[in-house]
Symmetry: C2
Subunit: 240 residues, 2 copies
């Protein structure tokens, strides 16, 4: 999404943008990108704010392991611009650190459908295959909520039988039943960092003086009842 | 939200706009508004596409009545630009047609908080007040999902004890547990109607030749398991 006017600095959310769509502008205008720095941008004087895909997922899966879960399935995009590969790396690393073997049969892609339906379809496949799993890391909350809907209507007890977790901390995550454990990517912090990077570049006589910088945003694990019988009070998402 | 450039027709979504923000432009440019025609626009040559607030709500409440529900609470914005008053009219009219007395103690406002929290707060108030209610019409799906989360964690059986319904047919409505009955305002039809109105005005030598027109969009009731033990198959929102 291009939000800039010709005479102003540009922000891009490279969700559906290829590097060639925005890199040319970075040669003539101060530029910050919310997302992963691609190889094409290695030597260029523009800045990136990356989401903590790998570390955030690592924290979520480590939390599931700490709850005693050992058969942790994953529904995750495995390639493409949407960070699935990085999240899967965090998943594998957390398993490895806990001495839990990676089981390829427990890792499903999200497919080509919309993400809500992907969660439904992948969870349905896991149940139909009679996969043994006691937790479920999902690429994001939309996938997780789709999967949770399947667990709920299939009589799978959450979190007793299966503990799902997502990524993004969208608002709906607090209001599904049970509320969903997820990784909060700290959008406000991402925005602040991006503006600070851009401003420091705009303050220069020649914005190309600064080399390209890459910042990784922080994150926070939001533990809710989908993965813990008694989550910390501040994270339950309900103020009665 | 103003999406127009100075030299082009403008679209407005008057969600957060007052009539004085956009009416001046309608004197110099073909204009269509997605929303309710206000009194200030009575004589003006611009067009409106209204959502079926009253009829849609009437259909939802009539459906709840047809399920045998008689104590139908409502959580609804009661004034302001957000259509709450029109939805409440549809609610009252459906009750009146069924010979069910209107009970002021069952009608709660949404308050000033965000709508997710409003649903949580209002449902909590109903339960704490030990209100007798067997259904719950909510201003929109976000409010309904907040309320549903309270019913679920309070051990209120949905739909056996209480049948909630919302408005908007947002995607999350299909994936909460149980899936939420709601009114689909037919966004695509709204968009098509708006473009057709605008185009017919743009095709004229002087766009002011046409008097102001007001169209009301259609709607569809999406019956799901929050209000019916066995909803019609095409409306359950799950493709297993």
């Amino acid at each position: 999404m291009d939000t800039g006017r010709p005479d102003q600095p540009r922000h891009y959310v490279p969700h559906a943008l290829a590097p060639e769509d925005y890199l040319p502008h970075s040669l003539t205008q101060p530029t910050v990108v919310l997302g992963q720095r691609p190889a094409e941008a290695a030597g260029l004087n523009l800045d990136y704010v990356e989401i903590a895909d790998e570390r955030g997922t690592h924290a979520a899966v480590t939390h599931l392991l700490a709850q005693g879960r050992r058969r942790i399935a994953a529904i995750c995009e495995q390639k493409g611009p949407r960070a699935g590969d990085r999240r899967l790396r965090g998943y594998r690393q957390a398993l490895a650190e806990a001495g839990v073997a990676y089981d390829d049969s427990l890792v499903l892609g999200v497919g080509d459908a919309d993400l809500w339906s992907s969660g439904v379809a992948a969870a349905t496949r896991l149940l139909r295959a009679r996969a043994r799993f006691d937790a479920l890391f999902c690429y994001n909350d939309v996938v997780a909520i789709g999967a949770l809907s399947v667990l709920n209507r299939s009589g799978v007890a959450v979190p007793d039988d299966v503990a799902p977790a997502g990524f993004d901390d969208i608002e709906a995550a607090r209001f599904v039943s049970p509320p969903l454990t997820t990784v909060d990517p700290r959008r406000e912090s991402i925005a602040r960092t991006a503006v600070a990077l851009l401003r420091s570049r705009m303050d220069l006589a020649d914005f190309r003086e600064l080399p390209g910088r890459t910042e990784t945003a922080g994150f926070a694990l939001r533990v809710r009842r989908s993965s813990a019988a008694r989550p910390p009070a501040e994270d339950t998402g309900h103020a009665p």
